[in-house]
Structure formats: structure tokens, C-alpha cells
């Protein structure tokens, strides 16, 4: 809740947060592709590619989503 309040007040463009159990993405534009080893999504004009193992999309909302699983790398292509 505090995070949501902070996000609302700060009005960040986007945020990608590494968590102990996965990855949290805020203010994404669209989800391009998804499978258990790779997730591709777009933020502004950047393309993010998340590589890992046993990844599942735990939560998905209009502005954010949460990935659970083993995250190995995140590659950003402009």
C-alpha cells in the first residue's frame, strides 16, 4: 500500500524492481511474449527481455505485473 501511495505521489515513469523471489514491473506499456524461460515486455520505447527458469506471471494489472521464479538476466534494447 505504501508503495502504491509512493508511486502515485512520485508519478514515476516506470520502475523495474528485482525481488528475492522474482521481478516487479510498474508502468509497463505492453506484454509482448511470455513463457516459462523468457518474458518480453515494452516500456516506452524500450524492449525488456527477462531470461530465467520456471517463471510464472503471478499477478497482472493495468499498470504493473509480478513475475515469480528464478530470474537470470534482464536485457534492455532501445
Amino acid at each position: 500500500m505504501l508503495n502504491n501511495i509512493s508511486t502515485y505521489l512520485k508519478n514515476e515513469e516506470y520502475r523495474v524492481t528485482f525481488l528475492k523471489y522474482g521481478l516487479h514491473v510498474l508502468n509497463y506499456k505492453s506484454l509482448i511474449d511470455i513463457n516459462t524461460n523468457m518474458i518480453i515486455f515494452k516500456i516506452d520505447n524500450k524492449l525488456f527481455k527477462v531470461n530465467g527458469k520456471n517463471m510464472i506471471l503471478k499477478k497482472m494489472d493495468k499498470k504493473e505485473f509480478l513475475i515469480n521464479g528464478k530470474i537470470e538476466s534482464v536485457v534492455i534494447n532501445e
Partner: protein, 382 residues
Amino acid sequence: MNNKLVLVSITDEEYLNIIKVLLRLDIYYSELNIKDNKVYFKVNYEDYKNLKKYFTNIKLEKRLGLDGIISFIKKHYIILISFIITYGILLLLSNVIFDIEIVTNNNELKRIINLYLEENGIEKNKFMKSYDELEIIKKKILEENKDTIEWLEIERVGTKYIVNLTERVINEEKIETSKRDLVAKKDALILYLINKNGTSIKEVNELVKKGDIIITGDIIKNEEVVDRVDAKGEVYGEVWYTVNTTVPYKHIDYVKTGEIVNHIYLDIFGKKFTLMGKYDTKNEIVTTKVLLDKPYLFFKVVKEEKELYEYVTHTVTYEEAYEEALKRSERVINEKLSSDEYIIDKKVLKINKYSSKIEIEIFYKVYENIGEYREVTPEVVN
């Protein structure tokens, strides 16, 4: 639109296929879990209805939030209503008077108490009274029966009232009909004698033994008993006492610290559950007060006021112990005396001095009332 959240599950379907459908339909979800070939997640109820068109094996596991509670109640309303009714009946019955017992052998008193109880609503098959109401009824019965009842207590035991009472016994005034003499109640030397009725046998400065007649009720004329009356008079004499007192050089006093601890607890069927202020010590004086006691509650709220004491050790010198011994001995004698009696003289007979204490023996001469009346048993003439 129904925005209530529900927990759904989809069986035998690939996780990725499900996600792709959700993405395509722009359905937002949370708490996705995969377990035993089932995918669980939370969505809006409307979205769930939409998903039913795409997945045949989709199941509504549970409604969440307030909706979930209402759904639970609707599903189990019969059991819930039964439970509420049963509890209500139990509560009701446990507050009904099923029996009243008055503990006394006096049937008349029993009948009177019964009338009072009925008058105040305490009878079989009626509701129990609260603690305060019982106190009022008890006070009323005691006030209106001061001559017959000494003490009364109404105790609730389960669904029964037990009335314990003590009858008041009034001693009738004894009218003296037989004759009496004035005799010595102790060995003494007579110092003061007033004869108001009867014949004096003894005089001032005479020694008497316990039981000796001082003033007789016989009226003697020409060495013959011509009449019998109640002897009456006053006699004071010198009585002798020996007092032995021991005073240790060290002693311990209890002194109030001034601290009071309030311990408030719940009494549930005799067991204590502290709410606040638990304090364990042996050096305390406790006053207990019941704060809350209602017949429809299974507990009482009780307050214990603990006044704390502490030990203080005092050490005295030989001289102080000696003075203390004299004071104590004198106190022992004075406690027996009334306002018109006093100590004539005293003498210390013996002092035993030990390492931890002192023992003294004191002899007292006391001016004291030594007369008492004794009934005269009539002689049997053969």
C-alpha cells in the same frame, strides 16, 4: 457490474495458454498459483463469467470478501441458525431458577423466608437475579427481621439458590431468685470493704483465700440464722502476680511501604486470569472486591487491593531490652485491670542475661476487685 473478487481454478490446461487468453481479453488477475495440475488465481466475477466461454474446466472455488461471507452464510444457514438457537436456549436455561434451598431447621423461619423470596421474584422457573438485586433483597430481609435473623446469605450454585442463615438468639434476663454470698475470687489481702447487704465475715487487712466468704447472705441474730438475703457489697484487695518476660536483642517488624497494587482478574469457574497488575509476594494484606458479576456471564471481574509490607530488623542494647521487658510485663498486668484498679508496687526478682536475649521475672502487687457472687445451695434437712 459485479466487481467482487472470486478464486477460480482451471484444470488440465497449460499455464501459458491461460495467460495468453487472459492477456488477450485484458483480464487482470492476482495470486496465481499452480498446484496439482490446477491453476488458481483471483479475478473479478464478471471476468470469470467471460472466461467460462473459453475454458470448460474452469471452476469457481470461492467467493472472497463480504460476498464470500454472505455466500457462506447462505450455504450453511441451517447449521448457523441451529447453533444460535441452541446457544440461546442454553443461555436461557442456565439463568432459570430450578431449585431453592433454605438451610435451617426452623420451619416457621423457612416459611417466612420463602414468602420474602417469592415477593421479590425468587421462585422456581423464574429468572435468576443479578448480584446487586440479591444484595438488595438480602438487606431487606435482614432489616425487616432483625429480631429473628442474625445473618443471611443467598448463594447461587448453578441453577439453584441456597439460602444460608443464622437465627438470632435472645437471652432472657435471668431473674435472681436464690440467695447468694460475696466470696473472694482470688487470694488477696483485703484493702477496701463496703457491706451493702448481708453480714461481713471478713474485715480490712485480713488475708483471704480464693472461695472464702467475705459477706454472707445469712442474717445472724443471737448466733442464729434468722433470715437469708442476697449479699451485696464491694471488696478490693492486694493481689500478687509474677510475670516472666523474654526480650530478644534482635527482632523483626512489619512496616507498611505505603505501596498499593491493584490486581484485576477474571474469575472463570474458580480459576484466575489476570487482566492487569499481577504481583506475587507474601508480604501483603489483600482486600477483595467483585466489580462485575452477572447471571448471564460465565465470568466475574474481581479486584484485589494489595497493601505491601516489608520486614525491618531492629537491634537493641541490653539496657533497651531491659526497659522493653519492664514495659511488656507492665502491659500484661494493665490489660487485666479496669479503670478503678492499679499496680501498687513492683519488684524485679530475677534477671537472666543471654547472648541473644534477656529474661526477667517481676513481682507485682495489684489493687484489684476481688469479690464475686456465689449462689447458695439450700441445705437438705433429713
